[in-house]
Amino acid sequence: MQLNRDELLGAYRRMKTIREFEERLHEEIKTGEIGGFTHLYAGQEAVAVGICDQLTVDDKIVSTHRGHGHCIAKGCDVKGMMKEIYGRAGGLCKGRAGSMHIADLEVGMLGANGIVGGGAPQAVGAAIAARIDGKGRVGVTFSGDGACNQGTTFEAMNLAVVTKVPAIFVFENNHYSEHTGDAYAVGTSKDIASRAEGFGMKAWRANGCDFFETYAAFTELLEYVRAGNGPAAIELDTERYYGHFEGDPQRYRGKGELDRIRAERDCLKAFRARVTGAALLTDADLDAVDAEVLALIEEAVAEARADEQPDPATVADDVYVEYY
């Protein structure tokens, strides 16, 4: 893998944008202005970016309840997202979606999903469409270690294998589904990916806190799938830095666990160390990105706060394209 300077800067910018988006949301939520459930993606950035950076706008992704990272990585407008989470009229989905249902079909992001496992078959549908279109496009679904226990996820894997479509199953194993550990909830002889193998799918595994490892594994996988070999899966070992949702007291964590994963398993730190170590980028390059990103998030919040609320008279609009 040879990423050029722009690609490296872009990847870093996207990971950093996700991180700061989430860190800032964590603060904003305390103000009480943001309602509903918000599930933060901080910690898992290398997965979303390592994967989406290799996709085109015509490749489709289907996301989860923890979708901000996938959205940003796939190219959703950050300000539109912030407004959406604030429930504003200018939100990416006019305030109807909130954190849990953000979608932007124009960038190939078919939707976050409040139903765990809900997206997996949809990615197979996107892959069915992609195969017909014949341009080597793929349909990607992100699933957590919890979501991999839903019947829909299994059915989707089987359907993808049977139909041999270019569907990709990305398992983000952050080791928790809500308050329960994967050690408890995932019945397996080995890991999640091995269940995909049980369906006859080729599977990759990588350290999801390492951008380069994730990127490289996915490069191989994507080449395999784009070449028409049928579906594939990848399991990424990753970490979430915050609670399941904002408000979670996280008493299930081990002592010092959060400090440890922040210290040892931080994709941003690892990225910086690697690219500066190899003299691909300088600290100054990255600091400049950091500053830009912080400014962007600052603006996004300011604009979201200033944006107007949706018009209540529109509450029942847009249920149908046409309803006679």
Binding site: G118, A129, E155, N158, V321, E322
Partner: protein, 336 residues
């Protein structure tokens, strides 16, 4: 005009529309049939025979046999629809919404609204429904009320070959998710079907007959049963306005109200248990909107609050019968 039955009308419409629009794809269990067997693809189609020849004509990328995985079937249709295709997904029995409801209700139906009106999900789900073949509790249900209740879905129930063509064409050219119900006892019903392009707008009830004394509203097989009841009371000079809803969502409220404003008497016939039913829906709507026109309380002819039994005579006792419809007509007429 050609004479054909409902099954043939559906098959020929699928052929014609798939030819016209290469975005239309079909998926379901045994929609090809014979895959992975010595007989090979299309050795034999699905059990209802509603997709023959499609695989041969349109190939395996557009006509897709699936494993027994209804959630994945509907979910794949949803994802394909978001990706620019017009999928037709088949549920061999409507009762299988039990294993796939989320993808219908929480996914397909809600995308457009949740995503701020910026997208559409033009998927058609074909559901084979209804009692009358002794298929018992888990293969005989009429789940249209459940789906009618769900914002974002359109619900369609043809009762004639012409409507089967017209409504299916409309479904395939529209941009919203459509639940297309096919009554398992009606596939053989014959009738004239317009040649060429024939679209039947949703939300326009079919006036089956006009009689002026009592309004009878029905859908699906109950339309045919209501005709029998109408014939029976006609002998006593009682005239029925019979409306075949064609679609329950959208609902042709105007046609119903117009008739009730004349007759003042309403009977709603519904092949399902009574609670939170389409019968109640229509009776309540009419009462709210045409209260002063009503000369009698709207009567609801439904099945009992029970699952559907197997035994032939029990099943007959469960399904609303022409006799029960006739009784209801006479009851609302006798009301003072």
């Amino acid at each position: 005009m050609a004479i054909m039955n409902i099954r043939e009308a559906i098959v020929s419409t699928l052929h014609a529309e798939m030819e016209r629009d290469s975005d239309i794809i079909l998926l379901g269990e045994d929609v090809v049939g014979g895959n992975g067997t010595a007989g090979g693809p299309e050795a034999i189609g699905g059990i209802w025979g509603t997709s023959p020849g499609l695989w041969k004509k349109f190939g395996p990328e557009r006509v897709i046999d699936t494993p027994i995985s209804e959630s994945a079937i509907i979910g794949a249709a949803a994802g394909a629809a978001l990706s620019g295709k017009r999928p037709v997904a088949e549920l061999m029995f409507a009762d299988f919404v039990g294993v796939s409801l989320d993808q219908i209700w929480n996914q397909m139906a809600k995308f457009r609204y949740m995503f701020g009106g910026k997208t559409k999900c033009p998927a058609v789900v074909r559901l084979v429904y209804g009692a009358g073949m002794q298929t018992a509790a888990q293969h005989s249900q009429s789940v249209y009320a459940m789906l009618t209740a769900m914002p974002g879905l359109k619900v369609v129930l043809p009762t004639t070959p012409a409507d089967a063509k017209g409504l299916l064409t409309e479904a395939l050219r529209g941009d919203d998710p459509v639940m297309f119900f096919e009554h398992k006892t009606l596939y053989g019903v014959k009738g004239e079907v317009p040649e060429g392009d024939h679209r039947q707008r949703f939300g326009e009830a079919r006036v089956v007959r006009e009689g002026g004394d009592v309004t009878v509203v029905a859908c699906g097989r109950m339309v045919n049963f209501s005709e029998k009841a109408a014939d029976a009371v006609a002998k006593d000079g009682i005239g029925i306005d019979l409306l075949d809803l064609r679609t329950t969502s959208p609902l042709d409220e105007d046609a119903i109200l117009e008739s009730v404003e004349q007759t003042g008497r309403l009977v709603v016939v519904d092949e399902s248990p009574p609670r939170c039913s389409l019968a109640a829906d229509i009776a309540a709507m009419v009462t709210e909107r045409a209260f002063t026109s009503l000369k009698a309380p709207p009567a609801m002819v439904t099945a009992p609050h029970s699952p559907i039994p197997f035994a032939r005579n029990l099943e007959r006792a469960w399904v609303p019968s022409p006799q029960k419809i006739e009784e209801a007509v006479r009851r609302v007429l006798a009301f003072r």
